[in-house]
């Protein structure tokens, strides 16, 4: 978990007229997820997974719309969404590289992977390249310790990383 708080010094991001919760998304949640749970609130995680998949991050306006859609207060939605690390509140690069930093990956050299990424792309964990192609982050255990060091590239797991070779693959992806 992480403490992510709203930066109130920045102006509220401009609203867009086209809703984030498109009719297609609403329909999908109503038909697929609402029947699964005894109340609408439980569809919150599935809904935001769809939003993440669609837009790559969660805009403040999407939280407003979700609150209205699920029949919750905005604070209730904000409270839940900010708890989960996978839900990003800022736009990221096209490829999000989640490098595992937990014990097995540290024993087998995840730091060398990050160092190679830093040398090649000039970004440290938490940063995005200027062309918005690659975002790199450190995350806790990915549950693939037998393939340490490992990383998730968007939704795909890459294991037994060799720094040079991994960076080459990332370069090909971002070309």
């Amino acid at each position: 978990m992480a403490w992510i708080v709203e930066d109130r010094l920045k102006p509220y991001s401009p609203t867009r007229s086209e809703p984030y919760l498109s009719p297609a998304i609403r329909k999908q949640v109503e038909e697929k997820y609402f029947p699964r749970y005894p109340d609408k609130r439980a569809a919150l995680l599935p809904l935001f997974h769809i939003i993440m998949h669609e837009y790559g991050y969660i805009a403040p306006q999407a939280i407003d719309e979700a609150a209205e859609f699920l029949g919750l207060a905005r604070a209730q939605v904000q409270d839940a969404v900010t708890f989960y690390e996978e839900f990003r509140l800022q736009p990221s690069g096209t490829y999000v590289i989640n490098v595992c930093r937990s014990i097995s990956c540290e024993l087998l050299g995840y730091r060398a992977v990050l160092e190679k990424i830093r040398q090649t792309f000039g970004i440290d964990p938490g940063e995005t390249t200027a062309d918005h192609k690659i975002t790199v982050q450190e995350v806790e255990c990915l549950g693939a310790c037998e393939q340490a060091p490992c990383a998730l590239v968007n939704e795909e797991l890459h294991g037994c990383l060799q720094p040079e070779e991994f960076v080459r693959r990332l370069q090909e992806l971002s070309r």
Partner: protein, 437 residues
């Protein structure tokens, strides 16, 4: 003790080239869903009795007897839920992922049996968000199971329709704690609940709920088919049955291996995992980082649910063994573990939130060469003051941090004290922390 061959991994060969995903047809062709049919041929109460008799204990970490857990459900209160704990976020643990990667139906059959025995209305498989592939595999397998009538039908003799769904988490270790999981299932932040009420009485959506680990449920089809005596013929008297062990870290062949409970760690490392890599054995974590560490002289520790009492660790945990060779810097290893807990603490309870963060700061200080002589005792004091067992926190996350720190300090005091003996010149030695553990 007699472990004849793989049980849970019987569909997953040791040779990676021969492994494949078993879909419905493959699963049924290899004896799949026969355990479910057998269960349906006897009354639900007898299924529960059989599971109690088998001595099956929860594989998720706590080792609570599975059948006994089921009996805590209040009679005739419906709907009831089954939450399958597939959060598996404990560093060093990947056994459930490996199982589902190749054999998803064994979990679904286990769910079907547990749901039949307990008259469950809905089963939710709570899978961690990072397991994208496994969530898809399960969704497809569930669709196949629906098509063949495993789910979506009434429990015999009742009007209760049983459904089964996947519910994805979104990156939070604490959601593997059972009440944190339930909160997350309900669409809230994954803050563990104060107990009582226990989930069996008021769990998901304030209704009676059972929470079982993936591997626990995967044992059920085999118990139904082969009986309690067969299951008890493996393992030790208090720890019955086969067990998946995930071995990672400094070994030649890391991976998931199956053996009976009570197998010696040395045997697991040498026979299955190809031996220690890059040096001699120094230390190992028996089952996920929250269990603490086994010392150099505890190489032959028997991995069963009694390990805690015998070898001064918290327990067997998830049986995710992390091996460290004699080149490992244990100060940095412990720093990594404590950083994990500091990062994943949900922040509800002050001793955990503050304790983990301060221990991380102290270990950073020691690692950077600025450790003060009193830091050893200070670390121990902070560690021992936090956790559900001293009674200062809601859940066991702080106990995990507590046991990790205390066992590292107790079993390798010299390694820590050596870093405190020679204080560096203050303000000069700001050399970066060594790059590897």
């Amino acid at each position: 003790m007699a472990f004849a061959g793989p049980v849970l991994l019987k569909r997953i060969p040791a040779d990676p080239a021969q492994r494949k995903l078993h879909r419905w047809a493959d699963y049924v062709a290899t004896g799949g869903y026969e355990g479910f049919q057998k269960a349906r041929s006897i009354p639900p109460e007898d299924v529960i009795k059989l599971v109690i008799e088998s001595g099956l204990r929860g594989r998720g970490g706590a080792g609570f007897p599975c059948g006994t857990k089921w009996t805590f459900l209040p009679k005739d209160v419906h709907p009831r839920y089954l939450a399958v704990n597939f959060d598996e976020s404990e560093p060093g643990t990947f056994k459930d992922r490996y199982l589902i990667d190749h054999d998803p139906h064994v979990l679904l059959e286990g769910i079907a049996i547990a749901a039949y025995a307990n008259r469950i209305t809905t089963s939710y498989i709570y899978i961690r968000g990072e397991y994208h592939r496994q969530a898809k595999v399960l969704e497809e397998a569930i669709a196949e199971a629906y098509a063949h009538g495993v789910f979506g039908g009434k429990h015999p003799g009742t009007d209760i329709i049983h459904n089964c769904y996947v519910h994805r988490g979104a990156g939070a270790y604490i959601c593997g704690e059972e009440t944190g999981l339930l909160e997350s299932l309900e669409g809230k932040r994954g803050w563990p609940r104060i107990k009582p009420p226990f989930p069996a009485v008021a769990g998901a959506f304030a209704k009676p709920t059972i929470i079982n680990n993936v591997e626990t449920l995967a044992c059920l089809p085999h118990i139904m088919l082969n009986g309690a005596a067969w299951f008890k013929s493996m393992g030790t008297p208090s720890s019955a049955g086969p067990k998946l062990f995930g071995v990672s870290g400094h070994v030649h062949k890391p991976g998931v291996f199956e053996n009976e409970l009570g197998v010696k760690m040395s045997a697991l490392i040498e026979k299955h995992a190809g031996g220690v890599k890059g040096g001699k054995y120094k230390a190992a974590i028996p089952g996920g980082v929250s269990m603490g560490i086994l010392g150099t002289d505890q190489y032959d520790a028997e991995l069963d649910f009694d390990i805690g009492k015998k070898y001064n660790v918290l327990g067997l945990g998830t049986a995710g063994v992390i091996v460290m060779n004699d080149q490992t810097d244990l100060v940095l290893a412990l720093r990594n573990i404590v950083r994990f807990f500091a990062h994943e603490s949900c922040g509800q309870c002050t001793p955990c939130r503050e304790g983990t963060a301060w221990m991380h700061k102290i270990l950073n200080r020691i690692a950077a060469g600025f450790g003060k002589p009193r830091d050893f005792d200070l670390l121990m004091e902070v560690a021992l003051s936090m956790g559900a067992m001293p009674g200062t926190t809601i859940c066991g996350l702080a106990d995990g941090a507590n046991w990790a720190v205390r066992t590292f300090l107790q079993k390798f005091p010299e390694e820590f004290k050596a870093r405190l003996k020679s204080p560096q010149v203050q303000g000069v030695n700001l050399a970066p922390v060594a790059a590897t553990v």
